[in-house]
């Protein structure tokens, strides 16, 4: 699906851009229930108890925790950050709420105002037509809209906690099937302590009639956010799914370690889009979210397809490689990414495409934009296994440099064990063209706006992969994130 932006969209974007600061940096004053800092088996049992989980969940968590204890934090990425004291983090924080929410009226008004302010109204009638939202604040899901309507078609869209209660068989079958508990340090940590997230199941042959989305919000101080998303598209199903993230402005660094698992059965298609705008820290690099995320999909059935699109503008540190295991024959995957870093942000992001089935295809388009004193790395792996006859990959990763104090790095690895594969990789690194900026200046456009225009043009190929409303959002975000980078 492609949406072209017309010029009035561009105008609108330019007009809207007046805010120089991170605009989602406010804190919601709401009564929060937290548990004490620190991590041990008792804390994990407490989380499981609070969530009234069945035994398999506690078992899953404990297995993960025991593996995690033996692991060390990965340091191979092109990122500099201090050691994290995992005993100095609160692993569970939830807005205090009435025992059960029967209707929208029962949602805490303060909470509703928070999501309104973020542009995510929780009332279905007010919301963007055709988008169902699961809103997650700190450790719990606050509200899932359109849940009942979707269920009429057999689509299960709910918070992870509800899914554990209502569909334990499905959860048990797929949880950890794509990202095993011991996959990596942060995935293991997540598996041990995750508190909520979204769950989605699209039954055989159903095309999900609306965009599904999850909105993640960190609010409480000194808390880590560990959510988990599990999305299953059964045979012939289709779903487009979006996630957005923001957090308040704080001087401390907060940890976010999420896991996303996607399963696409035969002929199924999943489009997974992310607009990541966690608090990036201030101009001097103080504060901001440490974002360590494991996202992986499996094209389990023949002719299945998974598309990843990500627009990454937030977080102080990003460590994230959404990948696809192409197991089914003739399965396909795409990865489209824009990663913009400014000030002292650091991003090490890219993708992994693991080709196992025959005639599998993958395509990677990555656009890195570095400004200020930031460091931006693309890291990718294309792996073709022995049995993956006639696999194809095309990768393009470009880097744009906007200052002489930033860094742009590229680490694209190819590992091929099957000579019938055809793999191509192209990449360029260059700075923004002075002649382009001058041309804009000469037409009366300020340098800052010109840079915004040029960057948006540069990112167009990726932005166009996003559903319409989010594409506009993403363009605005790019513009805002660049504020103050020219000068």
């Amino acid at each position: 699906m492609q949406f072209a932006m017309n010029s009035s969209d561009n105008d609108q974007i330019l007009n809207t851009v007046t805010n120089r600061e991170y605009q989602y940096g406010f804190v919601t004053d709401i009564e929060t229930e937290t548990i004490p800092k620190g991590l041990n088996e008792d804390v994990i049992r407490l989380i499981s108890l609070k969530k009234q989980e069945p035994a398999f969940m506690l078992d899953f968590r404990l297995r993960a925790f025991r593996q995690w204890q033996k692991m060390t934090m990965p340091r191979w990425a092109h990122l500099k950050f201090p050691d994290i004291d995992f005993q100095d983090i609160i692993y569970y924080a939830a807005p205090k709420a009435r025992p059960s929410l029967a209707s929208m009226d029962e949602v805490d008004p303060e909470l509703r105002r928070t999501f309104d302010k973020l542009g995510i109204p929780l009332e279905e009638q007010k919301h963007l037509a055709g988008v169902a939202v699961d809103a997650v604040m700190d450790s719990v899901s606050v509200k899932t809209t359109f849940k009942e309507e979707l269920y009429k078609q057999g689509i299960i869209f709910s918070s992870f906690s509800d899914a554990v209660k209502e569909h334990p068989d499905l959860v048990q079958q797929y949880l950890g099937s794509v990202v095993p508990v011991g996959d990596n340090f942060f995935a293991a940590l997540n598996a041990a302590v995750f508190s909520d997230g979204s769950f989605c199941y699209i039954p055989k042959g159903v095309r999900c009639p609306m965009e599904l989305s999850t909105y993640f919000r960190i609010n409480a101080a000194q808390t880590g956010q560990f959510e988990r998303t599990l999305l299953i598209a059964d045979e012939g199903a289709y779903v487009s799914y979006l996630e957005g993230c923001t957090a308040p402005q704080r001087d401390e660094n907060q940890l976010h370690a999420a896991v996303v698992e996607l399963v696409a059965m035969k002929n199924a298609e999943i489009k997974y889009s992310t607009v990541q705008n966690w608090y990036p820290g201030d101009k001097d690099g103080k504060g901001g979210i440490y974002n360590f995320v494991t996202k992986r999909g499996i094209c389990k059935g023949d002719y299945s397809k998974i598309s990843w699109t990500q627009v990454e503008t937030g977080s102080a540190v990003t460590w994230k490689y959404p990948g696809t295991i192409l197991r089914g024959d003739n399965s396909a995957s795409e990865f489209y990414s824009v990663a913009l870093t400014n000030n002292h942000q650091q991003a090490d992001t890219g993708t992994k495409m693991i080709h196992i089935g025959k005639n599998t295809r993958s395509r990677i388009v990555s656009k890195g934009i570095s400004a200020g004193k930031s460091q931006n790395s693309y890291r990718g792996l294309v792996r073709i296994l022995k049995g993956a006859d006639n696999a194809r990959n095309f990768s393009q990763c470009d880097s744009l440099l906007l200052s002489d104090t930033c860094g742009a790095h590229t680490f694209p690895y190819i590992m091929n064990d099957n000579p019938s594969a055809i793999l191509e990789h192209e990449a360029t690194t260059s700075r923004i063209g002075e002649d382009q900026i001058f041309y804009c200046n000469q037409r009366g456009i300020s340098t800052e706006d010109a840079v915004g225009l040029i960057v948006n043009g540069y990112a167009r190929e990726v932005i166009n992969q996003l559903p319409m409303e989010f594409a506009v959002e993403a363009q605005k975000l790019l513009q805002i994130s660049l504020e103050g980078s020219v000068g």
């Binding site: 002489d404 860094g407 790095h409 680490f411 091929n416 000579p419 990789h425």
Partner: protein, 427 residues
């Protein structure tokens, strides 16, 4: 002239004795072993070379033992030096054994490194200007056990017309350090041929190009069926200098080349082209580090691998552009062809860019010979084997495009064709 690295200084002091001092060895080994985190990094760097099969965890001890038994070390410096206008793979016009210092005319000399360093203070000064990286376990081992190898000295302003050719057959467990020195404004064409035998050779070769010097340096590797051959180049180029480097790996069970280049003065340029034919049961592992230490420099990497039989070909290409290295041009291309279903290819470009006024591009392709081109040739009556040879010849030919010395170009084509039947017909 004191070397900044005390280990190298001790090594230099011990040159006259030919052996690296026992104390030097002990301190380097303890230094390596004191950095367990580096050992992890070493392993990462050598991850695909089948080195760990040979060394496993006791590789230090093994390497040490090996270096002890390979006495007498004086005989290690087996090699021949030629100076010729028309090199040929089987040339007979031997100029000298490398053990003897040889006058190449116009004040240029070749011979034992220790002797040359003593005779030429400018050469010694240049040698001391190389920072020791300390980030490579095998380079460190070489540092510990090094014996002086061949030196080549081209004085300032001298333009060598003849091609200098070095032919070496490395001995068992050899760890040799050689040095090629080109003074300011000098020019030289060099063919350095390595034919290591025995189970391990781990050599370092330094090359220094003074201001505006020009070097055309071709290395050919053809190692024995049992040899693990590791070769490290450290190239340092000053302002306006230019090097055309070519490397051809035409055989050997396990060949690892570390080609480290530092463009230390502005407007220097370095072209590094390589062609590796990796036969059955072989590994070729090429690791390039191109450091643009100064501004306005240009580098270009073009590496081609042909993997046949049950083989593994690895290309790692790092480009580092620090903050102040503005107006840098850096290009890299890795093209790979797999001829056999059992063959494997790994490419790992690594670009680290901290300056903004740069133009960098890199590209990689992995695949088979183009089936459409094969069919086109066959439809014109050219047999399948012949068509494959033609296409491989065309694939390989690009590597020769920048080899400017016509006699050298022809000789190397012949050399490669003699070793690899499929490459008899390089175009």
């Amino acid at each position: 002239m004191a070397h900044p690295d005390p280990l190298i200084q001790k090594y230099l002091e011990s040159l006259s004795g030919m052996f690296a001092d026992e104390d030097v060895r002990a301190s380097v080994l303890s230094e390596i072993l004191a950095r367990p985190e580096d050992v992890v990094a070493y392993r990462e760097r050598y991850k695909y070379t089948r080195i760990w099969e040979d060394f496993s965890d006791e590789y230090f001890a093994l390497a040490e033992a090996e270096s002890r038994v390979s006495a007498p070390r004086k005989q290690v410096l087996a090699g021949k030096i030629y100076s010729t206008a028309h090199p040929a793979p089987g040339a007979s016009d031997i100029l000298a054994e490398a053990l003897t210092r040889t006058d190449l005319g116009q004040g240029a000399e070749a011979g034992p490194l220790a002797e040359l360093l003593e005779r030429h203070p400018d050469m010694l000064e240049a040698y001391c200007s190389f920072p020791e990286s300390g980030k490579d376990v095998f380079a460190d081992l070489n540092r510990a056990f090094a014996t002086p190898g061949i030196g080549i000295y081209i004085p300032q302003g001298v333009r060598m017309q003849q091609i200098i050719r070095v032919v070496r057959a490395a001995g068992q467990g050899e760890m040799m350090r050689s040095f090629v020195y080109l003074g300011d404004g000098s020019e030289s064409t060099l063919w350095w041929e390595e034919r290591p035998e025995g189970s391990l050779a781990n050599n370092v070769c330094h090359a220094f190009l003074g201001k505006d010097a020009r070097a055309e340096w071709t290395q050919t590797f053809c190692s024995g069926a049992q040899t693990l051959f590791i070769h490290h180049n450290y190239v340092r180029q000053l302002t306006g200098s230019r090097m055309q480097h070519h490397v051809f790996n035409v055989g050997g069970r396990s060949v690892r080349l570390n080609h480290n280049v530092s463009l230390s003065g502005p407007v220097a340029s370095h072209e590094s082209h390589g062609l590796c034919y990796i036969g059955d049961a072989s590994v070729s592992d090429v690791d390039i580090r191109m450091e643009h230490t100064a501004s306005d420099c240009t580098s270009n990497q073009l590496y081609k691998q042909i993997a046949d039989g049950n083989s593994l070909g690895i290309f790692t290409g790092r480009i580092l552009i620090p903050k102040d290295s503005q107006r840098t041009l850096a290009y890299q291309k890795s093209n790979n062809i797999q001829l056999d279903p059992r063959s494997m290819i790994r490419t790992r470009p690594q670009l680290e860019i901290y300056a903004d006024d740069v133009k960098c591009s890199h590209g990689a392709t992995v695949g088979q010979l183009d089936s459409e081109a094969l069919f086109y040739l066959r439809s014109r009556g050219i047999g399948l084997q012949e068509a494959r040879r033609l296409l491989l010849g065309a694939f390989a030919g690009e590597v020769f495009n920048d080899m400017e010395h016509p006699a050298l170009n022809a000789a190397i084509r012949q050399y490669v064709g003699n070793h690899v039947l499929l490459l008899e017909d390089i175009q």
